[in-house]
């Protein structure tokens, strides 16, 4: 049985055609094969959330997804959040302005979760925000600035 397979995947709007080991995780594929190192590995067992990306429009743990499973799929990573002209996604801008990142390691996954939250629930309460990000661990911030950034994004404050 072949230990490698060919996959066609669209990442951040670009189409890629690559041959990958079957046991390679989507996280390692993005980071090592596509050199999109913005997605981080914090635990490789699905708990910390740092590796969270968008898979076919919904958040997913890229450490728990095989690269071969992404064949035919669309993936968005933190690198894909900015506009064509390089302008940051509003959520990124709010994170920056509210000091919602310190070491920055949890940030890629946190952003994805926050973006999905506001898509599903445009006007969350603070409690709902905290629940939504409870699967993204942050060791630096104590979460307060992150919550404020997401609430500001929900209020569509000018970013």
């Amino acid at each position: 049985m072949a230990r490698e397979q060919r996959i066609a995947v669209i990442v951040n709007g670009h189409a890629y055609d690559k041959t990958v080991p079957v046991r390679l995780s989507l996280a390692d594929f993005l980071r090592d094969h596509l050199h999109l190192t913005g997605t981080h590995l914090g635990c490789e067992h699905g708990v910390c959330g740092a590796c969270t990306i968008m898979l076919n429009g919904r958040t997913a743990r890229s450490c728990l997804t095989l690269a071969v499973q992404a064949d035919g799929a669309e993936v968005v990573t933190i690198e894909g959040l900015r506009a064509e002209d390089g302008t940051r996604h509003p959520m990124q801008q709010h994170f920056l302005e509210k000091f919602a990142l310190q070491c920055g390691y949890c940030t890629p996954g946190m952003l994805m979760t926050a973006i999905e939250l506001l898509r599903d629930n445009p006007n969350p309460t603070e409690r709902e925000v905290r629940e939504a990000i409870s699967g993204n661990l942050c060791r630096c911030s104590g979460y307060q600035a992150i919550v404020e950034a997401i609430m500001a994004a929900a209020r569509r404050e000018p970013a």
Partner: protein, 296 residues
């Protein structure tokens, strides 16, 4: 933490999947959501020789809310269940329990059938399936069979599947009129593996409990159906005055009936105590939701 090597198949037809699984026997594993399997592979707790990815089998993607039952195919994600207003209304216990599964990113990928198959002692779905008198549809190279939920769960992380078999569908009967349900769990943090949980369903008519179901999870051996409580409650008059005392008695019966494990998250005595608390809370909430007028 990278997995050991395995042979990977991603068939588009169920028959093909079953064929490969039959060949692989005990060395094969089904990959659906991957939220339970992949951590084990990454940690090298498991090193199956063969992984069969069923995500391309369209026939397994059905989710049908029929008049008599809800049918959940093997590829239905937790998130799919939650998005259905129909399920929320007609199978509220399933909805309530699913809300407490992990976090959104896990719910987007993880499957209900996968959770049932994996039968983690703290998982929500095995307990709910038992409480709702659910049915597990199994397919193997030699054909299909069905098992009532209770017969499917055979112990800690174990099920009644033979090598080469897989769960293709779950069926949840429509609950009878006058039924109130509740799923209550206690975990250290939201989304963590529950230390103890209780799923309760009470069917009331004219102030009398016609039918009771109570299942406790988290005790170590898979969902534990507390028949002594169910029998005690069936036929009992329940109202605001008597319910509190009756449910306290039920909790005591739960505590006496279970045999919980000790682990790093909780001692056996704490789990036992907590199971009683969960049972009481679940029964109280279920009773309120029966809409029974005598409750006031």
């Amino acid at each position: 933490m990278k997995p050991a090597w395995f042979d990977y198949y991603a068939p588009r037809e169920l028959d093909e999947a079953l064929h490969v699984l039959a060949d692989a026997g005990a060395d094969g594993r089904v990959l659906a959501g991957g939220q339970s399997l992949m951590p084990m592979l990454n940690l090298r707790i498991l090193s199956p020789a063969v992984v069969v990815d069923i995500n391309r089998i369209k026939a397994l993607g059905h989710l049908e809310a029929g008049t008599d039952a809800l049918t959940v195919g093997a590829l239905v994600r937790h998130a799919d269940l939650l998005r259905s207003a129909d399920i929320r209304e007609r199978w509220p216990l399933l909805h309530e329990a699913t809300r407490q599964v992990a976090h959104m990113a896990i719910r987007n990928r993880g499957t209900v059938c996968g959770s049932v198959t994996h039968n983690d002692p703290s998982a929500e779905h095995p307990s709910v399936l038992v409480t709702m008198d659910g049915v597990v549809a199994i397919a193997g190279a030699q054909g299909r069979r069905e098992l009532p939920a209770e017969e499917f769960f055979t112990g800690m992380l174990s099920n009644a599947l033979e090598p080469g078999e897989m769960v293709v569908e779950l069926r949840y009967p429509q609950q009878p009129a006058g039924t109130g349900t509740a799923f209550v769990e206690f975990a250290r943090r939201l989304g963590d593996f529950a230390i103890a949980s209780a799923a309760a369903a009470l069917t009331m008519r004219n102030g009398v409990c016609e039918r009771a179901r109570l299942t406790i999870s988290g005790m170590g051996e898979g969902p534990f159906r507390v028949r002594v409580v169910e029998e005690m409650l069936a036929g009992q008059a329940l109202n605001q005055n008597t319910a509190r005392e009756t449910f306290a008695e039920a909790a005591a019966m739960v505590v006496a009936a279970i045999d919980p494990a000790d682990d790093v998250h909780a001692s056996s005595s704490y789990r036992r105590h907590l199971a009683g608390v969960m049972a009481e809370q679940a029964l109280q909430a279920a009773l309120l939701r029966t809409g029974e007028p005598t409750l006031g």
